[in-house]
Symmetry: C2
Subunit: 367 residues, 2 copies
């Protein structure tokens, strides 16, 4: 797996400038990169803020000096011991939840441990997944009161506009960002009206971060996959193919000339099984094929993939010519989904401006 450091830095600089202009803090989501080297470039300070998707990430980044962390998956009671252990080592790790049942479990744990765990209430932006409805003033207040009564620290609300991944028009994404912002402000208002604190109003997704018109009432934006970019985000319009910093190096191992197939040694194990672009206007198969220098071949994609084999072929109906690529030729394959492709690998081979590998950055996986 190759990482183009110049593209990574450009993607980060663009997002930081944009969010500074919108007047909100930037909490990078580290679930895509899972790398301290990337985190240090992405974060606005040496100790955060940052967002993680697993407790293994939380422990890893906390060990690396990141202090301001949110674990962004609704907390299960069984995980509170591990959360507490990471906090005792000095990290200000917060959790999220969306039910009174979870708030009661947290309150019981806070009473037993004496640790005033910070909690954000997850609010639903768009029906995508989890979260209290933003108009449910009673529900929000009940969760908030349970937390405060138990001695937990009610830190605010958190939303994720996951349905923005299904859009592709900048206006529609800007509208989704406005809906996310308005839902966040509304939920925060309900908590404050009930006399409860809500210092943090956190929203985020790569598409809404890219297209939000304003973020009044919001204190921070989270985004992660934009750092690397991918073909799915290019299909949404939140980046262009030339922004994609991540690719998989593959080698030609054979041909099936009658079929127009070039066989390479990168299959779904290296590229991931993600086929997200199948639902978009341009289906990129298992990835778009570039030459060794990263220049895409016209219409050349990984049409099918087995565990360690990729079948490279022209997009159906393409007028382009199949390039002549001998056994041993090297290619770079741009991924559908950087989060999924990244997770198939344990390190980044980092490329300098001349396209030469000049560093190896480790990454973590698992839980």
């Amino acid at each position: 797996m190759l990482l183009d450091e110049g593209r990574l830095e450009a993607n980060l600089a663009r997002m930081k400038a944009r969010l500074a202009g919108l007047g909100v803090a930037f909490r990078p989501h580290l679930k895509t990169a899972k790398s301290l080297d990337v985190a240090r470039r992405a974060m606005t300070g040496a100790s955060g803020p940052a967002m993680v998707s697993t407790l293994r990430e939380a422990a890893y980044f906390a060990q690396g000096g990141v202090r301001d962390l949110i674990y962004g998956v609704g907390i299960a009671p069984q995980k509170l011991g591990r959360v507490g252990a990471i906090r005792r080592h000095g990290a200000d790790l917060a959790v999220i939840l969306d039910s009174v049942a979870q708030a009661e479990a947290v309150a019981a744990w806070v009473r037993a441990s004496g640790d005033p765990l910070p909690v954000l209430i997850e609010v639903d932006a768009d029906g995508h997944r989890s979260g209290v409805a933003p108009e449910d003033a009673d529900g929000l207040a009940a969760i908030g009161r349970t937390l405060v009564a138990g001695g937990a620290t009610l830190r605010g609300v958190l939303l994720h506009a996951g349905d923005s991944y299904g859009l592709s028009d900048p206006q529609a994404i800007a509208d989704a960002a406005e809906a996310e912002r308005a839902a966040a402000a509304r939920a925060a208002g309900h908590l404050r009206a009930a006399g409860l604190p809500c210092p943090v109003v956190s929203v985020g997704s790569t598409p809404t971060a890219r297209f939000a018109r304003h973020l009044d009432g919001v204190t921070e934006m989270r985004a992660g996959v934009f750092m690397f970019g991918d073909l799915f985000q290019a299909g949404i319009g939140s980046c262009v193919v030339g922004d994609i910093a991540l690719s998989v190096l593959a080698t030609v191992i054979g041909h099936r000339r009658a079929e127009g197939w070039i066989i390479v040694d990168a299959g779904w194990m290296a590229l991931s099984r993600d086929r997200g672009t199948a639902r978009q206007a341009v289906d990129q198969g298992y990835g778009l094929v570039c030459d060794r220098a990263g220049r895409p071949y016209p219409d050349l994609i990984v049409r099918d993939a087995n565990q360690e084999h990729g079948i490279v072929a022209l997009r159906a109906g393409s007028p382009a010519a199949l390039p002549e690529l001998a056994v041993g030729a090297r290619l770079r394959i741009l991924p559908n989904h950087a989060c999924a492709t990244g997770a198939q690998h344990d390190r980044y081979h980092v490329l300098d401006a001349a396209g030469r590998p000049h560093a190896t950055w480790p990454r973590i996986n698992g839980w």
Copy 2:
């Protein structure tokens, strides 16, 4: 990730008995398990034979004492140095190829290194992927002569009936097995008629291993995913759901009662992005949901998955009732594809006959 040791042992015993009855050697494919603990139970001898899909697997299993290994992805010239290094440490690692260009690269490497590398010619069983056509006597002989003239060891032919994965009728799979067997025997015959050696005639896939009627002319069968089984293999009919030894432990973290959703902390990162059952008669979503003891709930599947969230719901149109599962409840999710799900994890939590974890077996990933 949980591994039911009893089911694993039963799956292995059944396959070994079946192949012994068919009079062929068994070369387990270790790409699914990537674990020495599993390999030692799967292999018919302490030193093999076995099959691998990456050179990292080859090095790992060679270090663990496995001697008779085939690297089952067409060799790229750049990899011969690594192959040689593994061989110098004592493993009899063979490679496969399907072109004169590759044979010439191998011959040049053999001349330079003095290592008489063993090679199998990959033959196409069914148009699925790679391989010389079994009727291409001239092509087979040209590759074989190039290898022998260069000092390589021509060990035989190797086929994989990959198209059998698209079938679901035992008769049709038995026919695919017969086609694979006949193609193997034909290709071996062409080599021998040209005065070339062909001691090994290797075929294999889990479905054809399960349903082959006879294997005359074949010397060994390869299969891997049968060890764990999965929902895709159950859809083909090469196992039943009760044979599946692999599952992912998940915890309920929330509900969306109006939608009939139970949210769990296992998403595509834990389950993999594999949606192979979407093409089968019964679409299992991202996995079939069982209780903590491994008993499937009727029609309860992971309907959708984000990175660390699974949305558990009833299959569309199901008359079953959604079970009442509180936050914190534990579930087991059976995978669509054991090879893909396994690769998302770095260890097996092994369950004894009472369903209790009694060992942890490491596994490797990467290249």
